[in-house]
C-alpha cells in the first residue's frame, strides 16, 4: 500500500492552533486533523465538523434498557411464574421502577461509550497513528494530508509557519 504523506504543524498553545486552523482553512487547505493534549472548545466547529451527537445512541440504548427492564420484570413475575409475594400483585409494579431506572442508565452509558469507541476505533488492539509523541504532552499538531490537497508541500508548510507553528514536520505513514 502506498504511504501517505502528512505535513504536520506543531503549535505550543491552544489559542495559536485555533487561529491557525482558521488561517489554514482560509487558504483552502484541507486539514486532516488537529491533535491536542486536551479538548479545545470550538476547535471542532473551527474545523467544520458536524456537532457530536452522542446523545442519540445514549437515548436509543437507554430506551432499549427501559423496555428490556419492563419486559423482564413483567414477564418473569407476571407471566412466566407468578408468585404470591407478600400478598402483592403478581406484576411487580411499581416496585420494578428502580430496576427499570438502573437498566436504562446502564445500557445508555455503556451503549453510548461503546458506540464512541467504535466510532473512534478505540480498542485495546488498535494501532493508532501517532504523528508526534508530544501531542499527549504539550504540543498541538495540525496534520495535513498532502494527497488530499492540491497545494504543494512547500505551500502548506509555509502556511503553517505563517500561522504560528513552532515547527513543521513531514511524516509518511
Amino acid at each position: 500500500m502506498a504511504h501517505k504523506k502528512y505535513i504536520l504543524g506543531v503549535f505550543d498553545d491552544e489559542e495559536e492552533v485555533m487561529h491557525a486552523v482558521s488561517d489554514v482553512r482560509g487558504q483552502g487547505v484541507k486539514i486532516h486533523e488537529v491533535y491536542s493534549p486536551f479538548p479545545i472548545h470550538g476547535l471542532d466547529q473551527a474545523l467544520g465538523y458536524p456537532r457530536a451527537r452522542m446523545g442519540v445512541p445514549a437515548f436509543l440504548f437507554g430506551i432499549t434498557g427501559t423496555t428490556l427492564a419492563f419486559l423482564l420484570t413483567f414477564w418473569t413475575l407476571g407471566w412466566d411464574w407468578p408468585m404470591n409475594i407478600g400478598g402483592k400483585n403478581f406484576i411487580p409494579f411499581p416496585t420494578n421502577i428502580p430496576i427499570v431506572f438502573e437498566l436504562t442508565v446502564l445500557l445508555a452509558s455503556y451503549g453510548m461509550s461503546f458506540v464512541f469507541f467504535g466510532m473512534e476505533g478505540l480498542s485495546p488492539v488498535a494501532k493508532p497513528v501517532i504523528f508526534d509523541k508530544r501531542i499527549t504532552d504539550d504540543k498541538f499538531v495540525m496534520a495535513i494530508e498532502l494527497s488530499k490537497n492540491s497545494a504543494s508541500e512547500k505551500e502548506i508548510a509555509d502556511a503553517l509557519k505563517g500561522s504560528g507553528a513552532s515547527e513543521v514536520n513531514i511524516k509518511e505513514i
Binding site: W81, M83, S123, V125, A126
Partner: protein, 404 residues
C-alpha cells in the same frame, strides 16, 4: 414440554377402559374395580386374566373350572390343598413344574370375589382393552417420531446457516475486489486460493475478528453456564447393578406389575427396592440354577442384603411422594421413568431437574375425576376458566409442595 401431549390421550384411554370395565356386570358379587387393583398387585406376575400361561395357568374361566370354596381354600393356603391330596391340586402342581403358588392368607371372601369378578369382567372387556393398548402404542411411536423431526429440522437449519455463510463470504470477496478497483484484472488464483485469501482477508478485518472473539466468548459463557447448571443432572445414568436384573424381561415380557416388587409405589413416599424375599416368591422355583439367582440365595443365606445402585436420585431437599403421583394423580410409572418394560438396564430417562418437574406441573391436568377432594376446587376453577384445571392451578408450583 416433555411428551406431555400424549399424557392426556393416555389418560383418556385409561379412563375409557376403566369406565367400560366398571359398566360391565360382574358375575360374582365382588367389586371388579377393587379386584383389578388386587389382581395387578398380587396375581398378575404369575397369572394372566385370560387363558395365557405366565407362571401359573391363565384364569379365564376359572370359575367354571373350580368352585368358589375350592378356590378360596387354594388361594389362602395352596400348600395345604396339595397336602390334602386333592387331585386337581396335585395335578396342577405337577403340571407347572412343582411351582407352588404364593399363599394369600390375608385374603378373605371380599378380596377373592373381587378378583374373580375382575377376571370375568376383564375377559369380557378384553377386545376393548386390546384396542386401547394399540392406541397407546401408536401414540408412543408418534412421540418418538416427533423427536426425530425436531433433530432433522435442527440439522437442516445448520446446513442452511452454513450455506448462507458461504454466500456471504463470496459477496464479501467480490466487494473487496471491487473496492480495490482491480475488478478488471483477471483473477489468476485458483478457486481454493481465492476462498483461502477471501477467508484470510475476512479474518484480518479487525471488526470481524472482534466480533468473532465476542461471539466466541458469548458461546463459551453459555456453554459454561449450561455446564454449570448441568452439574448434578445425570440424565442417561445407567449404572451396572450387582445382579443384572432385567426390567425388560420382568416388567416387559412377564408383565409383572411394578407394584408387585416396588411395594410402596401406591402407598407411600418411596416406591421401594424389593427385598430379596419378594424375589424368592417366584425364584424359589424358577431358574434356580442361574448364577445370578444364586446371588439372591446367597444374600438370604448370608443375611446380607443386595446392595443395588440407585438410578433415580432426587436431592434430599426435594420431597417427592410416589403415591401422590401414582395413586392420586393416576400417572403411569413411564411418565417419569421412561419405558422401563423395554429397558434391559434401567436408565434415568429424564433430567429430574426442578425445571422438568415444573414443566409437567404446568401442563398436566389434575386427575380430579371422582375424587371428592377436588370437587369444590374444580367447580371454582371451571367457573373462572374454560381450560382444564392444571396442577399449576391448585398450587402445584408453590415452593412448599416439595421443599420443606
Amino acid at each position: 414440554m416433555y411428551k406431555s401431549h400424549i399424557r392426556p390421550f393416555l389418560l383418556l384411554l385409561f379412563s375409557l377402559s376403566t369406565l367400560s370395565l366398571s359398566f360391565g356386570q360382574g358375575s360374582a358379587d365382588g367389586d371388579p374395580v377393587a379386584g383389578e387393583k388386587l389382581f395387578n398387585n398380587n396375581c398378575a406376575q404369575c397369572h394372566a386374566y385370560d387363558a395365557a400361561v405366565v407362571v401359573g395357568p391363565g384364569l379365564k374361566g376359572i370359575e367354571e373350572r373350580r368352585d368358589y370354596d375350592w378356590l378360596k381354600a387354594w388361594i389362602q393356603n395352596p400348600a395345604a390343598v396339595i397336602a390334602s391330596g386333592d387331585d386337581y391340586a396335585v395335578e396342577l402342581y405337577e403340571k407347572y413344574n412343582k411351582t407352588q403358588m404364593t399363599a394369600f392368607q390375608s385374603f378373605g371372601d371380599e378380596e377373592i370375589s373381587a378378583i374373580l369378578a375382575y377376571v370375568k369382567q376383564a375377559n369380557e372387556a378384553a377386545p376393548a382393552a386390546a384396542e386401547a393398548d394399540g392406541g397407546a402404542a401408536v401414540a408412543a411411536a408418534g412421540d418418538s417420531g416427533n423427536g426425530k423431526v425436531f433433530n432433522v429440522i435442527l440439522v437442516a437449519l445448520l446446513v442452511i446457516m452454513g450455506l448462507v455463510l458461504l454466500a456471504l463470504l463470496a459477496v464479501l470477496n467480490l466487494l473487496n475486489q471491487l473496492n480495490k478497483g482491480d475488478s478488471e484484472v483477471i483473477d489468476t488464483r485458483g478457486i481454493g486460493q481465492r476462498v483461502n485469501d477471501g477467508l484470510r482477508s475476512v479474518f484480518q478485518n479487525a471488526t470481524v475478528r472482534n466480533a468473532i472473539i465476542v461471539l466466541f466468548l458469548l458461546f463459551g459463557a453459555k456453554a459454561t453456564f449450561d455446564g454449570l447448571y448441568g452439574i448434578g443432572v445425570h440424565q442417561g445414568y445407567a449404572p451396572t447393578q450387582p445382579i443384572p436384573f432385567s426390567h425388560k424381561l420382568h416388567a416387559g415380557e412377564m408383565e409383572i406389575s411394578c407394584a408387585y416388587c416396588h411395594t410402596g409405589v401406591y402407598k407411600g413416599k418411596q416406591a421401594g427396592i424389593p427385598s430379596a424375599s419378594i424375589c424368592m416368591n417366584c425364584h424359589n422355583t424358577i431358574k434356580q440354577g442361574s448364577p445370578n439367582i444364586q446371588k439372591i440365595y446367597a444374600a438370604i443365606e448370608n443375611d446380607q442384603p443386595i446392595e443395588w445402585v440407585r438410578v433415580h436420585n432426587l436431592p434430599d431437599l426435594a420431597y417427592f411422594n410416589h403415591s401422590q403421583h401414582t395413586a392420586v394423580a393416576g400417572l403411569d410409572c413411564e411418565n417419569c421413568h421412561g419405558e422401563i418394560p423395554q429397558m434391559e438396564v434401567v436408565q434415568q430417562r429424564h433430567s429430574l431437574t426442578m425445571g422438568w418437574c415444573i414443566d409437567c406441573h404446568r401442563e398436566t391436568d389434575v386427575n380430579s375425576k371422582g375424587n371428592a377432594y377436588y370437587d369444590a376446587l374444580l367447580e371454582a376453577h371451571n367457573a373462572a376458566s374454560s381450560e382444564n384445571m392444571k396442577v399449576e392451578d391448585i398450587g402445584g408450583l408453590e415452593c412448599a409442595r416439595c421443599h420443606y
